[in-house]
Symmetry: C2
Subunit: 766 residues, 2 copies
Amino acid sequence: MTTTADSTNREKRRFRVVGTRPIRHDGVDKVTGRAKFGIDTQVAGLLCGAILRSPHAHARIRKIDASKAEALPGVKAVMTARDLPEKPDQHENFWEVLANVDALARNMMARDKVLFKGHAVAAVAAINPHVADEALGLIEIEYETLPHVIDVRAAMEPGAPILHDDLRTQGGAQDATADAPTNVANHIQFALGDVAKGFKEADAIVERSFQTKSVHQGYIEPSNSTASWSADGYLTIWKSTQAPFIVRQQVALILRIPVSSIRIVPMEIGGGFGGKVNTDIDPITAILSKKTGQPVKIVLNRSEVFEGTGPAPCAHNTVKIGATKDGKITAVEATLVYGAGAFPGGGAGGGAMTALSPYKIENVKIDGYDVVLNTPWTAAYRAPGVPQAAHATEQVIDELAQKLEMDPMELRLKNVTRPGDRQVTGIPFPSMGIAEVEEAMLRHPHYRAPLGGPNRGRGAAMGYWGNHGMHSSATIAVNSNGTISLITGSVDIGGSRPVLAIQAAEVLGIDVEDIRPSVGDTDSVGYTSVTGGSRTAHDTGIAVIQASEEVIRRMRDRAALLWETQAEDVAFQDGLFVSKTDSGDRLTFKELAAKLLVTGGPVSASASVEPKSIGPSASGMIVDVEVDPETGKVDVLRATIFQDAGKAAHPSYVEGQMQGGATQGLGWGLNEEYFFDESGAMVNSSFLDYRMPITMDLPMIEPVVVEVPSPGHPFGLRGVGESSIVSPMAAVSNAISRATGVRMEHLPLSPRYILERTAQVGESAG
Amino acid sequence: MTTTADSTNREKRRFRVVGTRPIRHDGVDKVTGRAKFGIDTQVAGLLCGAILRSPHAHARIRKIDASKAEALPGVKAVMTARDLPEKPDQHENFWEVLANVDALARNMMARDKVLFKGHAVAAVAAINPHVADEALGLIEIEYETLPHVIDVRAAMEPGAPILHDDLRTQGGAQDATADAPTNVANHIQFALGDVAKGFKEADAIVERSFQTKSVHQGYIEPSNSTASWSADGYLTIWKSTQAPFIVRQQVALILRIPVSSIRIVPMEIGGGFGGKVNTDIDPITAILSKKTGQPVKIVLNRSEVFEGTGPAPCAHNTVKIGATKDGKITAVEATLVYGAGAFPGGGAGGGAMTALSPYKIENVKIDGYDVVLNTPWTAAYRAPGVPQAAHATEQVIDELAQKLEMDPMELRLKNVTRPGDRQVTGIPFPSMGIAEVEEAMLRHPHYRAPLGGPNRGRGAAMGYWGNHGMHSSATIAVNSNGTISLITGSVDIGGSRPVLAIQAAEVLGIDVEDIRPSVGDTDSVGYTSVTGGSRTAHDTGIAVIQASEEVIRRMRDRAALLWETQAEDVAFQDGLFVSKTDSGDRLTFKELAAKLLVTGGPVSASASVEPKSIGPSASGMIVDVEVDPETGKVDVLRATIFQDAGKAAHPSYVEGQMQGGATQGLGWGLNEEYFFDESGAMVNSSFLDYRMPITMDLPMIEPVVVEVPSPGHPFGLRGVGESSIVSPMAAVSNAISRATGVRMEHLPLSPRYILERTAQVGESAG
């Protein structure tokens, strides 16, 4: 694993702590089992909850009779959607909810119709899981089954089964009948220049359609929630979540109670990847707790996680790109259709805005559609919407390079976007390092290394993710031995404790080991948005830096007091408070910390921030594969992932994010898929049948960190969590296409698909 | 229960929230069992710890053989003092440890000598309490018993058994042999004027000696500690404590590890009263956890609480007061001797400094002594040291009034101290309300009400407690619905959540119910000293007020942003942000809170303070008793407790403190005592035999709140937690003396003592 500093990073800043690799504070706890996850929550009188789910993909609920279940000894309560308010409260500020709360409520528990197999319809609380399970079997539900649709194109056809009678979308595929119900939940369009003219100028044009399937984030720890609703109406929820404050707001709206009567305690989290941003089953455990007067815990099993939580959308994307002989792209036209699952949502926005970011294009038209289907409602999954789109665009670019007989990386660099260039939204790009990443890829030995055998191919692809700044808060309290407590509201998923501690240490002039970072609950820290959107190290980092600077200001006042001078006469540099007078007075941070209690009391400081710019992150992958021509099996021989981290605060965790994203992208590309039967039931909802990559499936993935500092962060950090998942699906598709000579149009690139596809193309060519 | 505002409180300030009586935030949790106390701590792999204690009051430990215990199946570890560092680390700042840490360590577990019956000598960790108990019985200890001493006067005699060979005290009773070991741990003297001259001027002199016994704070929840020492050396301790940061520092020093590697999680506390300030068994659970690699919990049983934790000192106090015919006190001489228990400590300082505070005296000499004994090491108990001294001084004043044939309250008022008068330390009194309390007592109907029967008597006495400001921190985070999270490090014993919320609400212009107060652990809040010293509502209150004011400053900036004006042009008054321009712009706190996320992000603020002045609190009691001349049994007929609260932030909790202190003082006076047999063993170490007052023992105690605002607090608060325990022992003694015609010299005023005393005085008179 190597890190190459980017040569274009001209202005080198020296850091004392940023860029080092200290051991994470929660490491030992997590490997020894001392860390407490949601499932570890134990409170007195705890009941066990369980959820009954629809066996049908689409059906009207005629009647629910829970009387037999309620009569079962050991059952304490049964609930259905009738126990929830009819409608959630309205809320104006999207950034506080990050979701369609109405859909969240109806997805959590079906009211009149079930919209997918696995849709929750009732829940019980009982004295133990056996009684709870038995009770589920005693709930009698009368369904009127309805025709269902699980394919995006079929769902857009006139006459398709309609999921939501009240759904209307202007400019949808059924635009002519915009006043009639549709399954198209959203249509977004970006258009610049004159596409027809652009294609006219092209010497080569490639147009192709691609299909990708729904995949799950695959977090190890299943979704869980323990709720305790006290007699005074105060609700405490312990759970695995990426976003305790968001969940608090969503639960408040769904249950129509004030946020201030809810406390969300974020436990350690066993993976989220975007899938644990929203409230999932909390209103269910809450209502069961309210009904029983006891705390209630629900932990989903793996099938429920697959069938009842949100995977990434499937997609059907068509991309057409034209270029001149010398490789200048003249026009792009794309239609991106995402399967949102049971409720409006999906990935069209992210895909349409971002997939073409690596290319400077004058004439472009992109249409994005989100389409509802009788499948689980989709959720965010690392760079939501973009990998599906990049899977299409980056293959068409590769094919175009083949057609033009150019090196595909050279084609990319020829058209590369740079800061100030126009995005498809018309807004100029901020500082970002697509060109630097592409140069690093071209320069890397992997790109030119011999493949060393037959049936092998090398593919490359680019990725880009804009990132988004959100709210963060941090509090610092100084201990008298010169250590500090660092309190934030950011759930630690990928090492944010050390990464935030590094930033505090850099400002305060102390060691990372002298910092105890902790994650507060919603009652005990300032408002902090999701750990997601690649924003935590960046946004919460800025809050930490500001709180640290305030600590220094307050300590400078103390030094001035001690030295009988003015604060302006005290400098702080390299961890040392120094008098600017000729007194020779100087104190280290630790020395001064020891004197705080006797010079006016302890020092603490809080900061809350809303960074506007978080710094987009470009990425790219080079991958070598060997395809077994007899079985279609793909071996990944070598994989290198490149990413612009701005500045890698803790290189190991940046590399870890890159390797993780690359691994998930390769899994998405090669193995993973939601496999539905004709009835709309997912038939592979276990980790045995839903095949995620394991260590034996992949080589060591080499991460190459490129550093183009972001001007929006004092140390130059960019968000690094998501971008790395964007390119692998296209990269491995390109590699297989090169190895087999056949362009791959579907995911996953399973042996069966590769054999069928190569046979089919061979036939049509023959 | 009535509250009378003091008539001398001339400058009346209007408050919106301060002075109201909202329901405490933790009330429902505490009455429904949802609140989590130390004993409720559950962590995976928890072991049960138990402590072996000395059967001897004084003995040398020759040998400890734990091999049989260690061999018992289910025993995971045995520890002795050898497993602790030989000596604690040194620490300079007393205010961060509040104790003699060396003694804490040796009290926690005996190293070479046991110094009292119940002194811990070894501990085990086992899979369950039965195995742990059995293991204790298998630990073989060879003791060499030594002569012991449990009486303060005997301990000061030449030739008394010596507890600590290295103890030397200048000016002790054995001053002539100041180079020889002594049991006198401390001698303090205050002298003003010319005492001999003062007594010469007196027309009447009363001199008398009094004895009080050790009593326990009697908190309902026994001491407990659960420790988890992780493989990376990070120690977490969940416990019932008044002072998590103090305990953290003490544990760090005793174990010689940095404070930053320790996290103390203060659970809800079932009473402390000064007895849960210091670490007690935490290093034991910590070492057992370190040895076993598993978390270990120890909960003391009631006998262990009595015999192994710190009660209040016993005392033998002699007071001589002279006055002129017209009631002017001319001189006071006092010798206060406190039994500190097994290690240096005790109450001489508090007693000597404070007991004479109600009286303006020109000629005074007070000698205070703390004496070590072979009894449990004493600890703080509400106004530590003062009730014992006031028991003596307030009876001598009463007797002097009898001699002068004056009303004792009029004698007091004639000599009353006022702000600016000199204390015995020579330092002038700050603002305080002794005179106002005395006037309120004289004015109260109780003072003149007919006694209504024979064998009845009325007694009055004064109390005073100086209070002490210490460090506190508070953090406030604003929610978008206009509610706030209020985070402090002050453990909530007597209602500090609502009392702190009241102060925030007053500044912020919101309701107390819109505030969620929470108590952080040592990793998650700014440094905050003990909940004790009557300081929490006052000191942490000031931190809360400062943080609230900072919130208002930051929100004013936002209002200015919204109104496109300057912060100086925005006023905040009565919960309203108002533009000073003629724009007519105005927003309530809640309205502006809803706009924070879109005007620069959330708002939070922290403050840390070290108030110098906390405002002393004067108090007094009037009590009526009836003494059964045949049995000596005392019935308390009526009791009224008066106290200067400065300003009662939440009158119900002030009244509760007053009633609680009065009840404890009456228990101390009438029933409670550590009763030792000749071997030095406490023979009444259970709640059956150690008789604390229950509701049937006492009438409703009427609290009268006097309000003389303290200038050191923005709303005029004074610390109210301790002062009310100072007067009851003297008041009830005075009442019994009046009822029986015989001056009482001992506590408790048990039926047996009263019969013996009245018979003895009757005899000598007859």
